[in-house]
Every structure is written in C-alpha cells, then in structure tokens.
Symmetry: C2
Subunit: 358 residues, 2 copies
C-alpha cells in the first residue's frame, strides 16, 4: 500500500525504526528465544533495559539527580488521582490552572481527594491570560497545569510563576517535544501514547524531596515512595510498553536529542500554520502566541465541508484528521514521530482541496 501518515492525537504515530526493531525481535529478544514480553521483569535482561531507559531519559531530558523517574500504569488520568494523594500536605489544598479540557478534567478528579481552587487562564480567543501566581501560590501544596491542551491545540510556552511553590505539569502531549528546565517543576508526568511510546505506561519525573508524603489510603502502585524504592516494580510493570519507550529514548538520542526534535517540531508547526494563515479556506482560531506545536486545529467554517475534507484525506492516506467531538473541525497531531514529509503531504492535500472546494 502507499505511504500513510497518521495524525492521530493518541495513541499516536511511533518512529518507524522503533516499530521495525520491535517487529524484528518480537519472538526472539536478546537472542533468548523468547519475546521481551514473555520474560520476568526481575530477570537480568529486563532489569538492564529498565535501568538503561532511566539513564537515557535522564540524558535526553536533562533530568537533574535530585529528581526520580518512575514508570507507572493508569495513564495521566490515574495521576489525576495519584497527585493529590501523594502531594497534598500541611496546607491541605492545591491550585489548578485550567486552560482547556484536560486541565479541567484533572481539577475535577482532584476534587474527589482534596480541596481545590481553580483559576481559568484562557480566554475565548484561546489566549493564555495569566501566568503569574507568585502572589497566591504559597497557600497551596502545589499548583497544577497542563502546558498543552490537545483538543483545542493551545500550548503554554512560558512556565507559570509560582514562586517557591511546587509546580506540577501534565505533559502528556508535549513531553520530550522541546528542551525545558526540569528544575522549574516539582513534578512532570505524561501518558506515553503521544510522544513516548504505546498506551499503557505513564512516566513521572518527581523532585525527590516531594516523595514520601502519600496519605495512607494511596494505592501502593501509585505511592511514589513505594515505587521509587522498588525501581517502579512494586508490581509487574507493563514490560512491553516500557521496552518500546526505551527504544524511543535511544532512537531520539541517536537522531540528535532534544535540540534536534525541538528544531524539527518548530519547523513542522510553523510550516503548517503558515499555510493555514495564507489559506482562503482553512483557518486556526488559537491566539498566535499559544498555538500548539503538537496539535494543529483548523476548520473550513462549514461542518459539511470539514467532513468531506476528513473523508477525502483519509482516502488519500492522511489518517485521523477529524477534530475532537467537543470542537469539531480538523486536528493534525504532529508529535515527535511525525516527519516533515507528513506535514508537507498534508499541506499539498489541503491546497488541492482548497482549489477544488472554494
């Protein structure tokens, strides 16, 4: 079949080189005559893989020594519950900054476990209105936000100012997309299925002094102290998903690391937004300074024409461009694994569609 580009918002495209390696060794990993998914997580080979993956992620993302890296199950939504269980302390409340669907969902879940204050930081033009909370943040055990909202395609490039308070970021859709200063965060977490690997594994990077405060009624698989002590193996981890993440980290290092991915991601997004801005048919409604580099939303303004676009694009090998049902329209998710060629193919198709339908 002809070349397919998959713009799925998640589970999303993975590097072809990673999938090819996984395929090649699926029945015989490390020349053991068994699949990586059939061996004990406590065996020599998997323990080596796990340790190497932590080391590679540390190098790739510049994770300081005073941060722990945990691999868990349950997705970001699991962490929506685990975070208040683990991080609430003496102050007894947390501040949630909401900028779209996922940050609001995190706040809603947290309310089942804690007293939550919520501040909306996005206006009707999808523009971030406030990032300085240094005047109020000290009242809270932590401040939570989501730097990239996948549904609306809104990204927050500057880090909120929370003074000395603990900042927690749901980076499910933009982890490892560009270089960041980890030391600005108390905790970063992400479901793997956009930039890291397959669905079913969740990565958390947590400042060590924040670990060890979990309430008694914290499930042991989400107690950061328990998992930290057990090297993320208090129970059987999702070994195959972990293995794929390990291959992705290695692949990214081989490709030139985050500096290279940051450059590629900027070029991909700029190229697509430039075309959309020049188009007489397609438009993006997000404020320019908050346009996501990962999820590019666009509409024709006519829902029937949007549906026609999605159907014809799919037939042309440009998959999963339908926008989230909440917003409609189109969404091209262009995570790390999407090559520039995919964006160029999309633009070529959009141009053709524009000519035919305007």
């Amino acid at each position: 079949m002809s070349q397919v580009f998959n713009f799925s918002a998640g589970p999303a495209m993975m590097p072809e080189a990673v999938l090819a390696q996984a395929q090649q060794e699926l029945l015989n990993w490390q020349n053991q005559g068994t699949s990586v998914m059939e061996v004990s997580h406590r065996g020599k080979y998997f323990m080596e893989l796990a340790a190497q993956s932590v080391q590679d992620l540390r190098q790739l993302y510049g994770v300081p020594d005073n941060y722990e890296i945990l691999f868990m199950q349950g997705g970001a939504r699991g962490q929506f519950a685990a975070i208040p269980m683990n991080l609430l302390g003496e102050k007894g409340k947390a501040l949630y900054l909401t900028s779209g669907h996922w940050s609001a969902t995190a706040a809603k879940e947290a309310r089942n476990f804690a007293e939550i204050d919520e501040i909306n930081i996005v206006d009707d033009n999808y523009k971030i209105t406030r990032l300085d909370f240094s005047d109020i943040a000290s009242q809270y055990d932590y401040v939570h936000y989501c730097p990239n909202e996948t549904i609306s395609g809104v990204e927050i490039f500057d880090v909120p100012n929370v003074g000395d308070a603990v900042l927690v970021a749901d980076m499910s859709s933009n982890i490892l997309a560009r270089q960041i200063d980890i030391s600005q965060f108390g905790m970063i977490y992400a479901g793997a299925q956009k930039n890291l690997g397959p669905a079913g594994i969740t990565i958390a990077i947590i400042r060590k002094d924040l670990i060890g405060k979990a309430r008694k009624s914290t499930p042991s698989i989400w107690d950061y102290a328990v998992q930290s002590k057990a090297d993320s193996m208090i129970n059987t981890p999702p070994t195959f998903a972990w293995y794929l993440c390990a291959l992705v980290f290695k692949h990214m290092l081989n490709e030139g690391g985050l500096r290279e991915y940051e450059k590629r991601n900027a070029i991909k997004a700029q190229t697509l937004y430039d075309y959309i801005d020049s188009s007489a048919l397609f438009s993006n409604v997000v404020a320019k300074e908050n346009r996501s580099t990962m999820n590019v939303t666009f509409v024709t303004g006519n829902p029937e024409l949007d549906a026609k676009f999605v159907a014809e694009a799919t037939a042309a090998g440009l998959h999963a461009l339908k926008g989230h049902k909440v917003l409609g329209g189109m969404r091209a998710s262009i995570y790390n694994a999407m090559p520039l060629a995919g964006v160029e193919a999309l633009i070529a198709f959009m141009k053709k569609f524009e000519t035919e339908n305007i």
Copy 2:
C-alpha cells in the same frame, strides 16, 4: 537457535501463533498502513476489536449476561486497592482468606481502605484447611481469596462456601485455565501476564448488581460504574495489550476452548507431578489435593544442587525455573501457553540431571 521453553511465572510464555500474528501485522494492522498501537482507541477498527474481545471472552469462559467484563490498568495489585473502594458497602468490612503470599498481600493493601478480617486457610503442609464460611460470611460486604498461589504452587480447586455473600477471586494465575461456574462469584479479576496476554492490562468480571457503590474517593479509572459506562475507555486503554489478549481469546477458541485447555493443563500437571513423585532426587511439598496445575514447585533438598539445576537447565533451553526468592528451590510455571512438549523436555532434563547427581 534451538527450541526454548520458558517457565517464567509471569510475565509468562504466550502462544507462538499469537506472537507470530502480532509480528506479521505489527507495522500494518487491518491494512491501514499503521500499527494497532498507533491508532485511536475510539476509531472504528479498535472499537470493533474491543467489542469482539469481550464477546469472545464471554463465550470462552461462559460469562453470564448479568456480569460486566472490564479491561483496566494497574495489575491485580491495583485491584487490591480498587476492590475495597468499589465493593465495601453497608456492612463496612470484608473477609480475606489467606493461603499464601498473594492473598496476604491483597489483605494488607485492603487494610488501607477498609476494616478487614483475615482467616488463614492453609497449614504448614500447604494443605487448605477450611472452605466453609457460610456461618460468618453474611457479616461482610465481600469475601476475598486467591485460588492459585503462584509462589508456593498451592491451588484451591473447590469454591469457598460463602452462602449468599459476595465472593471475590484473584485469578491472576489461573484465569481461563479450566471451566468454572462464574455465577458462584461476585467478581473475578486477573492481571493478564500469566494466562491472558502481556503485562499491563487487568481483566475484571463483575456481577452487574455490585457495580455502582464506589466511594467518592475512587480514582475514575478504577470506578467500575464509570468504566462500565465507558466500555473500559474512560481513559486511553493499553491498546496493544488489549489487542494481544483479543488474539489469545480467539486462539483459545480456535484450539477448542476451555474444555480442551482444561484437559491439556491436567495432563501437563499430572505428568510432571507423577515424575516428581517417582524421583529419588526431586520432591514437591504441597498437599496432593492442593497441588497447582499452573505452578509446579520442586526441590532437591540441597540449595547448591538446586542452583546447579537451574543453571544447567537454562543452558539447555529450559528457562526461568528458579523458584521465588521467598521459598527458593525450583518452580515450573506451566500456564495455558506451555505445550506438553515443554513439560516432557523438562522431565527428560530432570531425569538426566537426577542420574548425574544422585
């Protein structure tokens, strides 16, 4: 390389036919030009896979219509926390029957969420001493037990009598190993990594009238009512693990269903125990009526000789026979995917080792 047989206790061997199909279509699933792990769980193809997998499991295990089947994350240990959160009700306490490491671990975790009474039901000879709790069970919201203890190799073949009370079974290591009457249980659950698929997905079969009682502080991904309403997709499920489970169910149906696996499993276990009982070197210490069909433990009585056995067996392609560190000795896990040929190769090797070392 020569034929390898993998006796890992979990993650464990998977059917070779399933792995071969996964390998073949890893980069191009359903002729979509993408991997199954790269597509949206809400897309047409994955939704069909999910629905078919539920239907196949229902057929394979004879799951009645008044039971819900859920696919979750977090392993059995996640459920150790989720079960009290979901099933505790008016009575406010639960009874845990302990017969080894895993049932005791479940009770320990549950104590963080509920008042738990615990009764030990195994004696020093690894014999189950009591299965009738009909006199006391009505005091409890549920009674929990583990019908197969993987570390000691102790299996409980009869179902505990709990009268009208709700019986909950951790079947992580013997789900789908033989035909059972699901209607005797309120809930059955299992991590997938022994008999169902890869690590990272957890299956629960729950009587529908027990769903909907979760306390407020239940993480939404483990709220059975929430997941039931969302067809196990309140968040992104571990799609690749789910896909592999779906292939395993289909494979088992094609091989003749549970009647066939029950027969195969009985023959494999009987063949191995018969040899051990006839051996002058190896012995199994579990009471005959409670010997596990899934995890066969054995010792020489000499830890140095045990270590030599494990090393030489590994070199001969018989992998992962080292017993759990708690008990030492050897353990051959012979789940559904282990063919009789693997058991026969192990026995042949044991005989040779016995001749050379007695």
